[in-house]
Amino acid sequence: MAIIEVKDLTKIYGNGDNAVRALDSINLSIEEGKFVAVMGPSGCGKSTLLHLIGGLDRPTSGSVMIEGKDIAKMKDDQLTELRRRKMGFIFQFFNLIPVLNAAENAALPLILDGVKQERAKARAMEWLQKNQLGDRSTHRPDELSGGQQQRVAIARAMISNPLIILADEPTGNLDTRSGDEIASVLRSLVSDWGRTVLMVTHDPRIAAYADRIIFLKDGKIVDDTLMSSDAPENARRLKEKVESL
C-alpha cells in the first residue's frame, strides 16, 4: 500500500475573478521507503502540494490519504496528532528557536509532547550524533553554520520517529557543499532508516539524490520519472505516422 495517496487534489486560493488554481486535480501515489523530489517553476504548486500532504493547509477538493486515512476529513486536533506522530518537517530557513541550543531545539517536539526533559534531550543527542553534531549540542543556532543548523532541524524532525519527512527547499539557503551534505543526510534517512522523504526543490543537483522526480507545472503533474528505469516512449503517434506513409 502506498503511504501517501493523493486523489483529485485541487487547491484554489481566493474566489471569483481573483481565484488562483494552485493545484488542479492532482493524482499521486508514493510508496513507503522512497525518496521523492517535486520540481517545477516557481508558482507551479509544489509547495502547496507539500503543505496539503503535511496537513499544514486544507484542500479545496479531493483527498490526501496518509496510511489509508483521509487527512482532509480529519478534525484539527486529529490532524495535529497525526502531524506530531507521523511527520517531520524541514524548511528552507531551518526555523530553529534562536534562544535554545542545538539539543534543546532538537528535543522541542518531544518536550511539547510532554516527554520529560532528560529523556527528550537524550533522544535529541542521539539524532544530533547521527548527524555528526554531537560536539555542537550546546551551541545556539547563531553559533552554527547554515548546514549545521539544517542538520539540527533534521534531528528535530526525526526525534518523534516520523514515517514521512516533508522537506520544502531544504537546501535553498545553503551553499553547494552544505546542500550536498543535507541531501546526503536525507538520502540516508531513506536508505538507512527506511523513512519516506518528499522534498520540494528547484535544484537539479539536489533532486538527483531522489529515487523519483515529479514535475509540476501550472498546478498539474506534467512528468513523473523513476531514476532507475527507462522513460516510456510516445509510440502511438509514431505508429499513426508510419501507417499514414
Binding site: 517553476p41 546526503s184 538520502r187 537539479p204 543537483r205 533532486a207 538527483a208 539524490y209 531522489a210 522526480i213 514535475f215 506534467v222 512528468d223 520519472t225 531514476m227 532507475s228 522513460a231 516512449e233 510516445n234 503517434r237 509514431l238 499513426e240 505516422k241
Partner: protein, 200 residues
C-alpha cells in the same frame, strides 16, 4: 587522439608492458565504466606509434605479442606528448544532438516537442542520479581525484538541465520561429541546362 597521447604520457612516466598500459589508462580515466578502451584499441595505437617512431620496444624484452612487449617513449614521442599537453582542450558545445532533434521536431506534426524535452530531461536526471549515487560512495580523503571528474560531470548535467528548462519556458516562441534559411548554391561548376545553372 586522447587515448594515444595519454598512453604516451604513461610511457613518459616509465616504460610499461602493453597489458600494463591498458590497466593504467583505465585507472587514469576513472574506471572501465567511465571510459572503456578495448585491448585491440590499445595495441593498434601502440603499433601505429611504433611505426611513427614515438615509442620503441625495450631491446631486452622482444616478446612476440604487443601484450608481452615492454614499451618506452622516444624523444620524438616526448616532444609530441608535450605539444599535446600544452594545447588547450576544447569541446564543441554548439554541436548538440538534442538541439538537432528539437529543431527537426518543430516542423513535424507527429512529434510532440515538449515530450522530447521531457525524455531528454529524464535521461539527464538519471545520469545525474547515477553519478551522484556513485560519488556518495567515494571517500573525500582518498578518492578526491575521482570526485573531481564526477563533479565536472554533475556540473555539466546541471547546466544542461537548466538550459532545457529555459528552452521549455520559451518553447512556444521557439516553435514559431521560421525554419533556418537554407543555402542551396550548387557546388562546383554549374551543369548546362540544369535548373540551378543560372544561379550565381
Amino acid at each position: 587522439m586522447t587515448v594515444r597521447h595519454s598512453l604516451l604520457g604513461l610511457l613518459a612516466q616509465q616504460p610499461r608492458y602493453g597489458y600494463e598500459l591498458r590497466a593504467a589508462f583505465t585507472a587514469l580515466a576513472g574506471g572501465s565504466d567511465n571510459w572503456n578502451v578495448t585491448p585491440a584499441q590499445i595495441y593498434t595505437t601502440l603499433n601505429r606509434m611504433l611505426e611513427s617512431g614515438l615509442v620503441e620496444i625495450e631491446p631486452s624484452d622482444n616478446g612476440s605479442t604487443s601484450e608481452k612487449r615492454k614499451f618506452h617513449i622516444t624523444p620524438a614521442g616526448l616532444e609530441e606528448f608535450n605539444r599535446w599537453l600544452l594545447t588547450d582542450v576544447r569541446d564543441e558545445p554548439q554541436q548538440d544532438a538534442f538541439y538537432l532533434k528539437l529543431m527537426l521536431s518543430r516542423h513535424l506534426d507527429f512529434v510532440d516537442t515538449s515530450r522530447l524535452i521531457q525524455i531528454q530531461r529524464n535521461g539527464l536526471y538519471r545520469d545525474l542520479h547515477r553519478i551522484t549515487q556513485a560519488r556518495e560512495k567515494l571517500d573525500q580523503r582518498t578518492d578526491l581525484a575521482r570526485i573531481m571528474i564526477m563533479d565536472k560531470a554533475i556540473m555539466h548535467l546541471e547546466a544542461d538541465l537548466r538550459w532545457l528548462d529555459m528552452v521549455e519556458s520559451r518553447l512556444d516562441e521557439v516553435v514559431k520561429q521560421p525554419p533556418p534559411e537554407v543555402c542551396l548554391r550548387p557546388r562546383g561548376r554549374p551543369q548546362k541546362n540544369s535548373p540551378g545553372s543560372d544561379r550565381q
